[in-house]
Structure formats: structure tokens, C-alpha cells
Amino acid sequence: MKTQTSYKRRRSVSYAKWGYFFIAPFFIIYFTFQLIPLLSTFYNSFFESYRVGLTQVGPNFVGFQNYVQILTESELPRFAANTFILWIIGFIPQILVAMALALIFTSYRLNIKGQGIFKTVIYMPNLIMASAFSMLFFALFSDQGPVNILLVSTGIIDEPFRFLSNTNATRGLIASMNYLMWFGNTTILLMAGIMGIDQNLFEAAEVDGASSVNVFFRVTLPLLAPILIYVLITSMIGGIQMFDVPQILTNGNGNPDRTSMTMIMYLNKHLASKNYGLAGVVSVLIFIVTGIFSVFVYRSLTKSSREEKKIINKKYKVKRKGGSYGY
């Protein structure tokens, strides 16, 4: 054993330079096109720099003035709230439906046929171009679009409903698109999580006479908690980055009255108009928020294995106390 390790070490030392060779392209490109731009974004957030017509103002160093301006004068807080609302009304049905589907698919009692087809179809919207999907919804729900034609001709409503002039309807449409695009993905993740749970636990619970509701709340849900947290936080991080769908649906205006304007849409506006100082501040703030969430992702990932062990131990202990079904 000892000779093997020293042999390995000796070999690896002579090959170390190859390690650097293989990772070099990644780092050269990363530093050039990601890290330096990121730092430059931070740097720019401290400068006054914008365009009025054809004249360029700045860049002049202004310290934290841009930050103060964004946090106190701009509508960014409102757009952050919009983003959160749009995310949450899409996420709640998404997680509930995904959970139900994951339970249905993994239940050996229900033994659902044609799972392949169902999974293929529900995952499909995830790969669709978000901007085209949004354009499609815009066409379908426009004032004279097929949905209105259908609703009027069947007599459900008397005259076309203007979906995109109504705050709730617009938000609802954006949330539905996000829901449609992501519930299949979430289902597949939750299924993998449920299938990863030790089957003995389910059998033991069943033998103990636990109802399926009890099994769900006492076994499945606690063991699935790490994956649920993972899904929740990655979805939030995705939610913060929401752009394509509302941008196309509302033509970049966040209509009506900017109630569906997201943070990234606001950033996009500043970037497009070369208002780099404020764009920098928005970028930094989004970076910070994402960073905080990411820490939770890592926590949930490293915690998951430990907690699973704890719960399994508890279950087995209970079982052993009962005494009848010991191994």
C-alpha cells in the first residue's frame, strides 16, 4: 500500500505539468471573458457614465452615489418585488404538481403505464426557446388571438379580454409559461430523489400500518427535504435571472405600468442605453443576492447526506424497538 502511494506520487509529479496544460484553455477564456468583465462591471458601478442623446457623460468617479441613487430613487426595489411575485406564482404550482407527479410515477402500487411518454412530453417545454414560446403566448393571447376567439365564440365572455393590459393576467401568463417550462424538470429531479430513498423504509412503514399520508409526511418528505431545498433555491436563482419570457411578452416594457418588469429587464434597459454606471450597480446587487442563495445551495448539498443518515438511523431504531421486523 505504502509503495503504491509513493509510486503514484512520483508518477503524478512528473505529469503535473499536463494537468496545467489541460485546464489552461478553460482558465484563459474564463479570466478573459468572465472574470475580468465581472471585475470591470464592479469597477464601473462606481462611475457616473451615461449617454444623453449623442453626448457621453463621464465616466467620473462618484463613489457610492450610484448605489444610493438606485436604492433610493430608482424603481429597482419595485422590480425586485415584481420578479419575486412572478417567480412565486409560477413556483408554487410547479412544486406541487411536480411532487404529485413524482409520487405517482414512483408508486409501485399505482404502476402507471406509459411513463416514458408522459415524462417526454412534460419535459419538452423546458427545451423550447423561451423567447419563441413567449411570442407564441403573445400571439395566442393577443386581443384578437385564438384564445379570445375561442372564449367569445363559446360565449364564455362577450368581448375579447385584453390579457396584456391587465396586471394579473399578464403576470399569470408569465408565471404559467415559467411553470410549463419547469415543472417537468422538477418532476424528474424529485423522482430521482424519491428513487434514491432506501426502499426498506417504505416497506417498514407499510408493515407498521402507516397510512400513505403518514408515509409521505413522516418518511418521504423529510428525506426529500435536501432535494426540495435544492430545487427551491436553484429555482429562485433562475427566477432572479428571469428575462426572456417577460421581455418578449411585454416588448421590454413590463406592461401594464411596469408591473411585470423584472430586475434583468431593468438591467437590460440600462445596458442597451449605455447607462453603464447604474447598470453596474444593478449587476452588483444581483450578484450579491445570487451569491447568498448559492451559499444555501452548497449547504443543502453537503448537508443532505448527513441528514439522510440521521433519519434512517431514527427509523431503524424505532423499528428495532417494535421488535417484530428486525433483520
Binding site: 496544460f21 464601473n44 411570442m135 434583468i264
Partner: protein
């Protein structure tokens, strides 16, 4: 005796309960199935109908104007859709190639070799995985402007070489399928390290390369935020930018047959690829679950 009676009673109720659960499950599944398919169904139907037909009503049966709509769309000089299609294919194809090859290379560098910075490098890549592209876009635009690459396709392709998520998938895959003994064996046979990677490692990790190639192709095909800020000229536009252009134009004045045909052009190719490869893609989703 007593318990037996009880259990049989329990059995009958249990069976009908399962049957009910089964029925409800299928109803839910079929409802969701229709929900997912319906928008695409209308899209395909309306792409085959004339503008006047689309505006006058709605049918479940396809019309006969499919070729007419596409002919109009492809010859529309404002949209230059064929050009955009080619740009999109070129960008997505190159991105998929670069991203998979170089991510595999990076993963191999960390998987197969021991070097001083190894632990740090791995942690570093894991940390940057969560940084959204949007937050560095400002600096990226400035850099691209200085490099004189504004309004070219290159800035949409080259950065794909550094893809932390793909890297993570690759290294996980190597850990599960690539024994160190194979690398050793190649060394003993006198193979150069780079050649070992290209001729031995790449074929072994082909399934992972394929899955990630599909994902990165689709991601690049759908990419909208950065391209929209970098591309200005008509000849350089990719499909999502043309979609946005379509949206910002006066919608009601447009030939709706063409609008639906345009959306179909953006969606259908990915849809067909997906349906052909769905088995591998869905497996890939589970494998890369940590990717996010």
C-alpha cells in the same frame, strides 16, 4: 380469525382505493399532457393557415397554406430568416463543439493529474458555477467593444470554452466510468498524454459528450440576453433576436401566417431533435441534477 377478517376487509377497500388513485392519476397526467401539447398544436395548425383564416377564427384542423407561409417568410427581406437560421446553427454548433471538448479537457486535467493547485481549482470552478452571465455582461460588452468584436458572432462562441456546469458533469462522468488504470496502460504503451485524451478518453466519455452537446446546442440556440446586446446588423442576427424584432414591430399589421411560421422555425427543429433523443436527454437531466 379475527385478524384475518379484518385484513380481507382492508384488502377490498384497499383495492378500490388503488383503482380510484389510478384513475385520478391518469386524469391528472392526461390533463397535463394536453396542457403541454396544446400551445404547440395551435402553433402548428396556425402555421398552415392564411392570415385571414387565422384572424377570422380557430380550427383544430390544419389549413393548406404551409408552403405559402414559409415561402413568404423565407423571402421576407426585413427578417432575413434564412440568414438568421444559418447564424443560429453556426453559433450553436460551434458552441456545442467547443463547450463539450474543452470542458472534457478541463475535467480530465483535474481528474487524471495531481498538481499543487488542484483542490483550489476544483473549488474555484464550483464557486463560479452559480454566477449568472448577466452580472458580467456590462464588462463583457466593454471588452468586446475594445476588441473590436462588437456586432460579430465570435463573442457568442468563444466564451463557451469555459463552461463550469458542463465541466462538473464531465468530471462526475469520468469518476464513474474512467478507471485510472486505462490512463496508466496508455502511458506504458508510450502514448503522449494529449493523444491519450483524444484517442482513448474521448471515445470512453462519448455518452456524456453527446448529452452535453445537445444541452449546450439548445441553450445557445435559445440564448437571447447577450446576443441581443451585441448583434446589431441584419446579417448577423440569430433567431431569438429576429423573434424580438417581430414582437417589437407593429404586430397587427403583420401577416400572422408568417408570424406563426417564424415561431415554428424557432421551435420545431429543437422539438424534433428532442423527440428523437428524449431518452438520453431525460437521463442527462437526472445525472446532471447538481448542475442547476
Amino acid at each position: 380469525m379475527d385478524t384475518r377478517v379484518k385484513s380481507s376487509e382492508f384488502g377490498a377497500g384497499y383495492r378500490s382505493k388503488i383503482a380510484l388513485g389510478k384513475t385520478l392519476s391518469y386524469i391528472l397526467l392526461i390533463f397535463l399532457l394536453i396542457l403541454c401539447i396544446f400551445p404547440f398544436y395551435i402553433l402548428i395548425i396556425n402555421a398552415t393557415r392564411l392570415n385571414a383564416e387565422i384572424q377570422s377564427g380557430f380550427t383544430l384542423l390544419p389549413g393548406r397554406a404551409l408552403t405559402y407561409n414559409f415561402k413568404n417568410l423565407f423571402s421576407n427581406e426585413n427578417l432575413m430568416i434564412l440568414r438568421a437560421l444559418w447564424n443560429s446553427i453556426f453559433v450553436s454548433g460551434s458552441t456545442a463543439l467547443l463547450t463539450t471538448y474543452f470542458s472534457a479537457m478541463t475535467a480530465y486535467g483535474i481528474y487524471a493529474y495531481n498538481f499543487k493547485m488542484k483542490g483550489f481549482v476544483f473549488t474555484f470552478i464550483m464557486v463560479i458555477m452559480m454566477v449568472p452571465v448577466q452580472v458580467s455582461t456590462l464588462g463583457f460588452i466593454k471588452l468586446i467593444t475594445e476588441m473590436g468584436l462588437m456586432d460579430t458572432l465570435l463573442p457568442l462562441i468563444i466564451p463557451a470554452i469555459a463552461a463550469p456546469g458542463v465541466f462538473f458533469f464531465m468530471i462526475q462522468y469520468m469518476r464513474s466510468v474512467l478507471p485510472h488504470a486505462i490512463i496508466e496502460a496508455a502511458r506504458i504503451d508510450g502514448s503522449n498524454e494529449f493523444r491519450t485524451f483524444n484517442t482513448i478518453v474521448i471515445p470512453i466519455i462519448k455518452p456524456a459528450l453527446a448529452v452535453q452537446a445537445i444541452f449546450s446546442f439548445v441553450a445557445s440556440w435559445n440564448n437571447f440576453f447577450v446576443p441581443a446586446l451585441i448583434i446589431n446588423s441584419k446579417e448577423k442576427k440569430t433567431i431569438p433576436i429576429v423573434i424580438a424584432q417581430l414582437r417589437s414591430a407593429d404586430y397587427m399589421k403583420f401577416d400572422l401566417g408568417q408570424v406563426y411560421a417564424m415561431i415554428a422555425v424557432a421551435i420545431i427543429p429543437v422539438l424534433i431533435c428532442y423527440l428523437l433523443l428524449s431518452k438520453y436527454i431525460i437521463r442527462g437531466v437526472t445525472l446532471g441534477s447538481v448542475k442547476g
